[in-house]
Point group: C2
Chain length 402, copies 2
Amino acid sequence: MKRRSGVTKPSGFLAGGLACGVKDGKIKDLALIVSDRPAKAWGVFTTNHVKGAPVIVSKDHMRHRFARGIVVNSGNANTANTLTKKAEEGAARMAKAVANNLDCPSRSIFVASTGAIGKPLPIAKIERGIAKLYREISVTGGGDAAEAIMTTDLVKKESHASFNVGKKKVTVGGCGKGSGMIHPNMATMLAFITTDAAVSRAVLKDIVKRASADSFNKITVDGDTSTSDMFIALANGASGATAINAPRGKGYAQLLDKVTGVCVDLAKKIVRDGEGATKFVTVNVTGARSEADARIIAKSIAVSNLVKTAMFGQDANWGRILCAAGYAGPLIDPYKVTVKISGATAYRRGKLVDGFEKRVKPKMMKKNITISLDLGAGKSASQVWTCDMSYDYIRINTDYTT
Amino acid sequence: MKRRSGVTKPSGFLAGGLACGVKDGKIKDLALIVSDRPAKAWGVFTTNHVKGAPVIVSKDHMRHRFARGIVVNSGNANTANTLTKKAEEGAARMAKAVANNLDCPSRSIFVASTGAIGKPLPIAKIERGIAKLYREISVTGGGDAAEAIMTTDLVKKESHASFNVGKKKVTVGGCGKGSGMIHPNMATMLAFITTDAAVSRAVLKDIVKRASADSFNKITVDGDTSTSDMFIALANGASGATAINAPRGKGYAQLLDKVTGVCVDLAKKIVRDGEGATKFVTVNVTGARSEADARIIAKSIAVSNLVKTAMFGQDANWGRILCAAGYAGPLIDPYKVTVKISGATAYRRGKLVDGFEKRVKPKMMKKNITISLDLGAGKSASQVWTCDMSYDYIRINTDYTT
């Protein structure tokens, strides 16, 4: 029997997923998430100048006061595949097909697409799929929706968390996808969060921005920022809990904490499922002059192919780590830097540490590796999560479109 | 019988290379290039904030009026391996060992090191090697020097060109190394140019800057900017040709042209020998608002793992190309962009071009691929050279230090 999970864990949300024929071989490729009542919504989107039509349409729809649902297809990014208006027309038709069933304005529906860039969108198949899927959505359909948004993902990604506001239980649920072309910048891959909290639009915006900065914007798989990144949160108030209308107080703090927790969980799941990944690597940069410096340096290390291939080879090549910190941009003094791998110190303030290779060797065999760099220049810090780079990364990406 | 080649093609230069024991297995690891008379010199160096000791020492020595030679070891980058002064001491001792033999100041000698970062430098072996190598250098030793600076390189890289100033023949020669950690920024990997032209220091500086901008700064293999990048030119006047003392006139134009030509040849050889490379990829960006925009976008495409793995898979995935252009930074309008691969148009101003896949298929099997992006926004252009990314890239980099 199916259970409530992910986006259908909070009250008042229905979802589902099915195969409508965008992908070959009856693999699920269409997902629908619906709130049974008007919800507040906020989203963040890719900063790539080449934006998928769904990004353009969804950003426009976000200006509407309420949202009722999110429709997503995988297998086709609906990006750069035709003249502007035709691609947007396709995305708009997806929203309209859902809105017709819900008897709400098209602008209450968000649209997302993920898959190959530059392929014509089979909109008729999708419209037929939406008509069918609308009849199938349910409170246990979160898992099917999570499955239907996958592309090169090997596992579906869901998460949830709860807390109490007074005596009312408030739940946050979510699903996400992403495995390659993962280097979010001010936005993310595809991730959708639902909550039955009652919250004002302004507070939801605040929470979405903070939560994505602390989760999706901290991950990188391959340094490529997608054209289709989108993270949307829907809050429908179905918990019956007191409304959170200002960014302060216990209810706000708890909602921020739980939404962030769900986002971090989804973000880490995306990294663990990174194309070809065999290791989960945490990069901690401390002792920086500013948080921005720390973040830039941590991302430079996390995205370096040479660091990532060394991790795959279980080679504690800290020289490549220091090198990637050095070319990141912010000025660093290598003679104040300390480099550790999974707790073993390789280099302390300009000096090699004896016995490092012996101490680090068993730690490199583990699935989780932590790279720590203290810059010795200030008190700011940042953290980034990434994966290693293996033969399978090459295999997966050598023949994706054909 | 050995012939004059590379850095010993111009008159008045001697060179050689031997195995001194930095690398295991009697593989050549020490190179020496000497001018038989004081030469003018100029160099450009890595912009990485973590600099190898040889970079620090060579930048200091460049302030000296004349240069007599360049000593290089491979197998150890002499970077971040001990306290500042000790590492610099090692580099200074390499210069001094050469200077003692040449009876010139240490500051007349440039030092370069390439190899793993963070390993103690076996300076005593290198000093013994220099004493031996000094007795072996000759006018046919350019090839041995080119071989001795290799690390993961599969082939040695030499080039030369000649022209006449009046009735005197002037020759430019060079050697270079590089295969991974190649993403030069204002500087380059290791490359050394010699010429018997007579030229003022100011003109040589001008030529080095222009030639490196048009060659080494246009290549990328893996996006990692090394700690040890260095490009040095020596001009000793041994041709007897009239001196070139101003950046104008036919002699200047020819010298700039030939030095640039030798640098471009070495740069392309480095890309062709990129770690695991099976293809040589030229990225042309045209129609940009500025040359800087064009260069940033071309580099973003050239360094994208998703573009590079597609090229390895002979997959004409132009969507990834457009995507990488979109996140590069400069504002682009995808509906004004045209994308071609090896002459076949995939996408023209927002519209798919019919028959692209059929037309491009035979072109993807070739060793040389050209990616062309016209932004439709202006008249500026830039070009970058890169290689594809294969299984061998992973193999080579998974176990380098141990």
